[in-house]
Symmetry: C2
């Protein structure tokens, strides 16, 4: 089971569940009313309130208030997180050495706790901007299809901006959506929305998704909806350094 | 009810629950296998894996992998988070304008989702270091108690460092634990541990917690355990600027 949950555990149940999760390398998420103190380079105190607590198997510990993207307190990976009972409350202590710091959270009421045996081997892949790819297409529309002619770059519609509005060698309009990363179903959704909009005035309109690559699922979904895919492999993520060198050559 | 949970919802159930949570201003936490894409200053793609997603009512959106303290993708408050269905999957779209960016997460499998109606009016209060307070006590032990004499600063024990090891005017040893913030039960725990250790060799040993303030609960717990509290209000958090000015006067 990937996820296991306890509703409103008492301190003893909570501490037992947390210890198991830490031992097994699971991610622990806790909704609780708690107070927090920090000791390290400075000292700090957060009076009681409802917060989301996250403990990861690498020792990461996060205290999130209901607003704001930054945790109000946190500890990076490399240290330890321990659970214990004290004076009738559950306590989570995250600490590390070098520098020596600790975040100690007293859970006055645990509303819920979720153990998550998460598996994730993926790495975030960042690429350049779509602007570089737009510039290339603007200057080389024939790379997408022989005889394709760009009519307008970034045409505004009620659903947002269409990247390119073009016509093919037969004079049929083509809506072109450009993505700098591997094509996903979200990109399909977006292209479909634009094409449906243009179909209202010209039912022959074609839709073309341009990206460095696409999965089989995306290719199939495009085909099933009479939409086209054009691969611009030069902008692929695999050859990031090489691509960047190439870009200056265009 | 503060917390409501769904186990392994299907995409339709998930989207309905998310919409309700967003409408009501609740914090949403999701355990899911998902893929993520970012578009803004750059473009990026994170292939599928198990992640913790957090959506807050201010528009904050966080994607956390099982390790690391930084979210792999995120959006600050100020924008919007929307839930919808697409091609049989649930999708969460977080976006903002100025700068224009979006994080779109396709949830290939939702293991669990928790809605958290959190109330939190507290603000994190940071104070200076304990070192400043230590220096003051070292130079003015009589401020803690008439006739108190410091024997040793930061004496090492098997449970960590005792802040001050002192003797009172009768020659009775006093273990002094100093905190720069309002005293908490965690501080009580720490002092109790040290005093219990010293009691093994001298059962008359006294324990003294020194802090800018303490709640009634902490004061009562100290009393019930024959431990003492000394308030050093000059180091209080309320008058932060004033305290800092004073510190230089010591």
């Amino acid at each position: 089971m990937v996820v296991q949950r306890l509703d409103a555990p008492d301190p003893g149940e909570f501490v037992a569940a947390a210890k198991h999760a830490f031992r097994d390398g699971a991610v622990l998420t806790v909704q609780a009313r708690c107070e927090v103190e920090y000791e390290g380079r400075t000292s700090g105190y957060l009076d009681e309130g409802d917060r989301l607590l996250v403990a990861k198997p690498d020792g990461t510990f996060l205290v999130h208030q209901p607003t704001g993207h930054k945790p109000v307190n946190w500890m990076p990976g490399g240290g330890t997180v321990e659970a214990r009972e004290s004076e009738g409350d559950a306590v989570l202590l995250a600490r590390r050495t070098n520098p020596s710091e600790r975040v100690e959270t007293r859970l006055l009421e645990v509303y819920g706790v979720t153990r998550f045996d998460a598996e994730d081997g993926a790495t975030y892949e960042e690429s350049g901007t779509e602007a570089e790819m737009h510039e290339y297409i603007q200057n080389n529309p024939g790379e997408l299809e022989d005889g394709l002619r760009i009519v307008e770059h970034e045409r505004e519609t009620k659903y947002g901006f269409v990247d390119f509005y073009a016509v093919d060698s037969d004079g049929t309009p083509v809506v072109v959506e450009v993505k700098r990363i591997q094509a996903t179903l979200n990109h399909f959704d977006q292209l479909k929305r634009y094409v449906d909009l243009y179909s209202e005035t010209n039912e022959d309109v074609r839709g073309m998704l341009v990206a460095p690559s696409a999965s089989e699922r995306v290719l199939r979904t495009l085909r099933d909806n009479d939409l086209e895919f054009v691969e611009l492999a030069e902008f692929g993520l695999d050859a990031k350094g090489a691509t960047e060198a190439k870009l200056t050559d265009f």
